[in-house]
């Protein structure tokens, strides 16, 4: 498959971050189409396109919008630009190099749900992206696409940037709402869902950067056009972020139905240094790893779920055959322990124990019982954590054990022999 640029259009049109260039290539035409329709018609079109949320859960965007009550005001739109899932780096590229298309997408989504205020919740680290977005917002405003009475339709929208300040959990949508309101970025109980009780208990939609950036093209070209790529249930393209042990790491926008084999071995150039593939993590670090036997699985949400992993954020992390699984697990659980927000005990205490055990296994001081205990702790965390962060931490360990438990037992036995030769 060839790359298809619906979102990463700057790869073909270098100056597309400039307003004039963007408009010369059909910029703000999608919004014009949207504004000529009733908001419900826009929601219907996006439902027909089958566009699914690119943040991680893959929930259909149009369906999410449909949950927003019509008669409660004000409503809010939040653009989730808290990209922090290890292995994921697409949203930052989009905002930095194709900012107008994101802004246009935000205006379309806000119009569809009739929100008059939108916040772009961006990581504090993304200063260049924020600068690009501020410029794009100013240009859009100067040309009548933002502010009061947009293009004479009576629709009003203001977009504000709101910085995050260094907490992975704030990518989770309810934690994000708490963070915007000025509280600790900790998740809230669902239901009620943000669609009815979001920011300041008002109807709120939270959409990911890539999701929103698809909208202008869908509005311009229609649902059928969008559906020429991907599958029935995961239409369109996805930006797959490839990192780790490949020859050409980077972002690749491909029909969502591309297989891991094609992505890793054709587009990303295969495994580096002539090594072999040991495993790959298909949907950001929180997705359970898969092995070479899964290379022909298409990277759609449903196919990856059927294979025992998840589509997640589209970050594909590639591990070569020189990689020790004990080390990978230790890196993963250290991250979740560091980022656990502390709200619920299964995650707060579970990730603490996971890290302690994983470090002990890695150090060679562990016994077979520690390997069993790490699995047991992870199993005890299952479906008990308040939000997906703790669940991710136990899922990645369970996923690794599914294929590499023998390697872990072998690892501790070899190292114990090395450490305590006399005791054997």
């Amino acid at each position: 498959m060839e790359q298809v640029y619906i979102v990463l259009r700057h790869r073909e049109i270098p100056d597309i971050d400039q307003y004039e260039t963007y408009v010369a290539h059909g910029g703000y035409e999608g919004l014009r189409v949207a504004l000529e329709q009733a908001p419900d018609e826009v929601i219907e079109l996006v439902k027909q396109s089958g566009l699914r949320g690119r943040g991680g859960a893959g929930f259909p965007a149009g369906v999410k919008w449909g949950f927003v009550p019509k008669d409660v005001f004000p409503k809010y739109l939040v653009c989730n630009f808290a990209e922090g899932e290890p292995g994921t780096f697409k949203d930052r590229e989009i905002a930095e190099y194709n900012p107008h298309q994101l802004i246009e997408g935000i205006i379309i989504a806000a119009y569809a749900i009739q929100a008059n205020t939108a916040y772009i919740y961006h990581r504090g680290e993304f200063t260049f992206a924020a600068q690009q977005l501020r410029r794009a917002i100013a240009a859009a405003r100067a040309h009548g696409w933002l502010g009061e009475d947009i293009q004479g339709t009576g629709f009003t929208l203001n977009i504000y940037l709101h910085p995050e300040a260094g907490a992975y959990i704030c990518g989770e949508e309810t934690a994000q709402l708490s963070s915007i309101e000025g509280h600790l970025g900790q998740p809230r109980l669902k239901p009620p869902f943000p669609a009815t009780h979001g920011l300041w208990q008002k109807p709120t939609v939270i959409n990911n950067v890539e999701t929103l950036t698809n909208l202008p093209m869908i509005l311009r070209h229609g649902a059928e056009w969008y559906r020429q790529w991907g599958t029935e249930r995961t239409p369109g393209t996805r930006v797959y972020c490839v990192s780790g042990h490949v020859v050409r790491p980077g972002n690749y926008e491909l029909p969502a139905s591309v297989t891991a084999r094609e992505l890793i071995f054709e587009h990303a150039g295969g495994i580096w240094k002539g090594h072999r593939l040991k495993a790959f993590i298909p949907g950001g670090m929180s997705a359970p790893l898969l092995t070479p036997e899964h290379l022909d699985v298409p990277l759609t949400y449903d196919d990856l779920a059927a294979a025992g992993s998840m589509g997640g954020s589209g970050g594909v992390i590639v591990l070569d055959d020189q990689t020790d699984i004990a080390w990978v697990i230790a890196k993963q659980v250290a991250f979740y322990k560091h980022e656990s927000c502390g709200k619920c005990s299964p995650c707060r205490e579970g990730t603490y124990w996971q890290k302690m055990l994983a470090d002990r296994i890695l150090s060679g001081q562990a016994s077979r019982r520690d390997v069993e205990l790490l699995k047991a702790v992870s199993d005890q965390m299952t479906n008990t954590c308040f939000c997906p962060l703790g669940e991710a931490s136990r899922m990645v360990v369970q996923g690794a054990y599914k294929y590499f438990a023998d390697e872990l037992y072998q690892w501790v036995e070899e190292r114990r022999r090395a450490v305590e030769p006399a005791a054997v």
Binding site: T88, E125, F126, E181, G182, L184, G315, K331, C341
Partner: protein, 174 residues
């Protein structure tokens, strides 16, 4: 001081939200810019603007890793060692950086120029190993490039384009 020095900005910012409290994070960033780090005085000024208790503001500031509650150097280096970066040698390179500057994790050089922190994923895994200096990206790092960057930043400060130094991709090994 914050209120006096940034009054227009603060007023505009408060207008973005139906409740003042929501301006918390942006105001904490502003206070950090003014004071270098979040001093008790800075926290108190933010609390006054938001009409909140300073303890409340401190609790929020403490939750987030980009707010500094202790003094930091002129340039804060945040070096990613998460899995995708670590797969291509970031941990070894991070140790080299600490050794080169003679620092422990989180430490600041005696001349007050550099503070080094281990960062979580910076969303730049395709150009790993990667670090930020005062939020500008430095990508495809090697020992040689680290030496070069430290010397350059020490002598001339950060590149003015706000984009950091994005070196050409490393030679591809087949």
């Amino acid at each position: 001081m914050l209120r006096e020095n940034r009054s227009t900005e603060i007023e505009e910012l408060l207008g973005h939200y139906p409740e003042k409290r929501a301006a918390m994070i942006p105001l904490l960033y502003m206070a950090q810019e003014e004071y270098g780090y979040l001093t008790p005085q800075a926290i108190k000024e933010v609390a006054d603007i938001l009409e909140l208790d300073p303890t409340d503001v401190y609790g929020v500031a403490r939750f987030y890793s980009l707010f500094y509650l202790e003094p930091v150097g002129k340039f804060v280096i945040r070096f990613c060692t998460d899995l995708p970066c670590a797969l291509v040698g970031a941990e070894e390179l991070y140790r080299y950086l600490l050794e080169t500057l003679g620092l422990e994790e989180g430490g600041t050089t005696s001349d007050g120029i550099f503070t080094v922190q281990e960062a979580v994923c910076l969303a730049s895994c395709g150009t790993a190993p990667v670090m930020q200096i005062n939020f500008q990206y430095f990508e495809h790092l090697t020992r040689e490039k680290l030496d070069e960057i430290l010397a350059l930043v020490r002598a001339q400060g950060l590149p003015p384009n706000g984009k950091g130094l994005r070196f050409a991709p490393r030679p591809q090994q087949q």
